[in-house]
């Protein structure tokens, strides 16, 4: 811990693991420690026992119960949807098979046909395809699975299929980074890991941070393209378009995100056990558990009390949403035909980004900058960089910018070509 770093409050402690029979209580373990190490300042509050009850109490907390109720409601909807979907499928099939039967055995008497047709009819009236109940079938797990796993690609010119590949590969890169970094505090041979960083290939894993930047660029690219496309389609900038622009993204992302926070706060204490598993609090901080989750609702968690933010990997979502809010500053001049203005604005964004990082680093000359340091020293640059400054600002705007540079370039190429064509 460098004392010169800003608000250095974290002190590193040695954690000692001790296996004792489960009949030992905290009191006796504390006194055992004191005799063993000849110290007297170990109290039972310093101990964290792996068989402590989850959430600090026996049975479920009220929060956990509420979460379970919400989850089971969702489960119920999906279950109902699946049952109705299955019924619809089976009636369709049975009717099909009956009609084929009727076609083959044309010699059947009318009575018999009626007999055969009747069960189909009753089922059909039970589940009328037009009725409201069939709406539930859309929630069916089978339909969702089919939707996820269809590989048929639309081959039209408007889609960007290649983006799927970039998205998946970047996420895999990020998971690789996290899989290593979440684990750094709980390894027997952390020194070996430090030695490994001398291997070139480790650089690829350490720099997984760049995978997040990829997401920012993609997000900027898509926002710009979709915004302009929408304006072109409606032929004007309407207020409705703006409201939809903001609301649509918000309601696409928020419900899932909130449910995950709910699970993370209330249920993660029950997900596992072991000497280092946080049975007491799950994966979330105290502040988050006592109501800081509203910052996630508004997507400002990286600005207000960033260290206590719920669901720490979600800083990306917060940043991204903020970029989404400000992106029209550059996009509106563009769709109004003032391309040079939007070009200037994006350039300013990029410069703000670069300068803000530069000034942070110059202001705190002793700040550690390595990615690996961030896990040891929580006030290091990387940490601050991610959570306190929206420096990602400029990556995003650069995505917008890059498209615009191309546009300008193409405009320059395109105009003379047209002239030549006209002359010919």
């Amino acid at each position: 811990m460098t004392p010169s770093s800003p608000n250095a409050t974290v002190s590193l402690k040695i954690i000692l693991g001790l296996c004792v029979p489960s009949s030992c209580d905290r009191e006796s373990i504390a006194s055992l420690m004191n005799t063993l190490f000849n110290k007297t300042d170990v109290t039972k509050t310093d101990l964290s026992c792996s068989n402590d009850p989850s959430n600090g109490q026996e049975g479920l907390t009220s929060g956990a119960i509420a979460t379970c109720i919400v989850l089971s409601l969702l489960g119920l909807i999906v279950l109902l949807g699946t049952i109705i979907d299955l019924l619809l499928l089976s009636t369709d099939q049975s009717i099909d098979s009956q009609t084929s039967n009727i076609n083959t055995y044309t010699s059947l008497t009318d009575e018999r046909i009626e007999l055969i047709e009747r069960p189909g009819f009753s089922l059909r009236t039970l589940i009328d395809p037009e009725s409201r109940i069939t709406v539930l079938a859309e929630f069916s797990a089978i339909r969702t699975l089919r939707r996820i796993f269809t590989m048929k690609q639309k081959k039209d010119d408007d889609s960007f299929i290649f983006i799927n590949g970039i998205r998946v590969l970047s996420l895999c890169w990020i998971i690789m980074g996290h899989s290593l970094s979440f684990n750094l505090s709980y390894t027997s041979n952390i020194l070996d890991l430090l030695v490994w960083t001398r291997n070139v290939f480790m650089q690829l894993i350490i720099n997984g941070v760049l995978g997040v930047d990829t997401f920012f660029v993609l997000s900027g690219f898509l926002t710009a393209i979709l915004f302009v496309r929408q304006v072109k389609k409606e032929d004007k900038l309407s207020l409705r378009l703006f409201i939809l622009y903001y609301i649509h993204r918000y309601i696409r992302l928020t419900p899932t995100f909130l449910l995950m926070i709910l699970v993370s706060i209330n249920l993660t204490p029950y997900f596992g056990e072991g000497p280092v598993y946080p049975r007491e609090k799950g994966f979330e901080s105290d502040e988050c558990r006592s109501g800081l989750w509203w910052t996630s609702l508004l997507y400002v968690g990286n600005l207000y009390k960033p260290h206590e933010m719920c669901f720490d990997i979600a800083w990306y979502l917060h940043n991204d949403m903020q970029f989404h809010w400000i992106a029209p500053i550059a996009l509106v001049p563009f769709v109004l035909g003032r391309k040079s203005i939007s070009f200037i604005i994006t350039t300013i964004f990029v410069l703000i980004g670069i300068i803000s990082i530069l000034s942070i680093l110059l202001y705190y000359p002793n700040m550690s900058v390595g990615v690996l340091d961030a896990f040891v020293d929580r006030v290091s640059f990387v940490y601050m960089f991610y959570f306190e400054e929206s420096v990602f600002f400029y990556v995003y705007s650069l995505a917008l910018l890059s498209i615009k540079i191309f546009t300008l370039l193409l405009g320059v190429v395109y105009l003379p070509m047209q002239l030549v064509l006209l002359l010919v």
């Binding site: 996820i148 998205r167 390894t187 480790m202 930047d213």
Partner: protein
């Protein structure tokens, strides 16, 4: 927008394309391997280089991605575009948001539930990567079915009316 203005038939000069790709690869190598000497040298990199790297690496990186996006959207990405357009990415990309959300819970649960700390060896690291990615996407299927799709359908119904 170029894509809208000029369609996606724009043909890029071959030399420009090669030049751009070479520059992109160089940028990529710079971004990925500049911090490498920091791990090799006892003294680490000099401060000015570190500062320059931190302030500029993201800009360079987004130029790289921007170039790839540009080439692919005018259908001149060649091999890279073909790989990125494999239909295997399709289902995974639909799970991506759920997977991003759920992966930290999955990885933390798997890692912190260990009775003993890991003793890291190369194959264990690779093993962890594969299993964490696999289980994250598997959990993402559940999250998509129960969390994402219901609200997606409700939203669709609401906006239609």
């Amino acid at each position: 927008m170029i894509l809208i203005n000029f369609g996606r038939r724009y043909r890029l000069n071959r030399n420009i394309k090669i030049l751009g790709t070479i520059i992109t690869i160089v940028f990529g190598l710079i971004c990925l391997f500049t911090p490498y000497p920091d791990c090799l040298l006892a003294s680490g990199l000099s401060r000015p280089i570190v500062i320059a790297y931190q302030s500029l690496s993201r800009t360079f990186w987004s130029i790289i991605i921007g170039w790839i996006l540009f080439l692919c959207s005018i259908h001149q990405g060649g091999l890279v575009e073909r790989i990125l357009s494999w239909s295997i990415w399709d289902p995974l990309a639909r799970l991506n948001y759920s997977c991003y959300l759920v992966h930290s819970i999955v990885v933390r649960t798997m890692v912190l539930s260990q009775r003993m700390p890991f003793y890291y060896q190369a194959h264990l690291v690779v093993n962890n990567f594969v299993s964490h990615i696999f289980f994250s996407y598997a959990a993402a299927i559940v999250v998509t079915i129960f969390f994402e799709t219901p609200f997606f359908i409700i939203e669709k119904k609401l906006l239609k009316r």
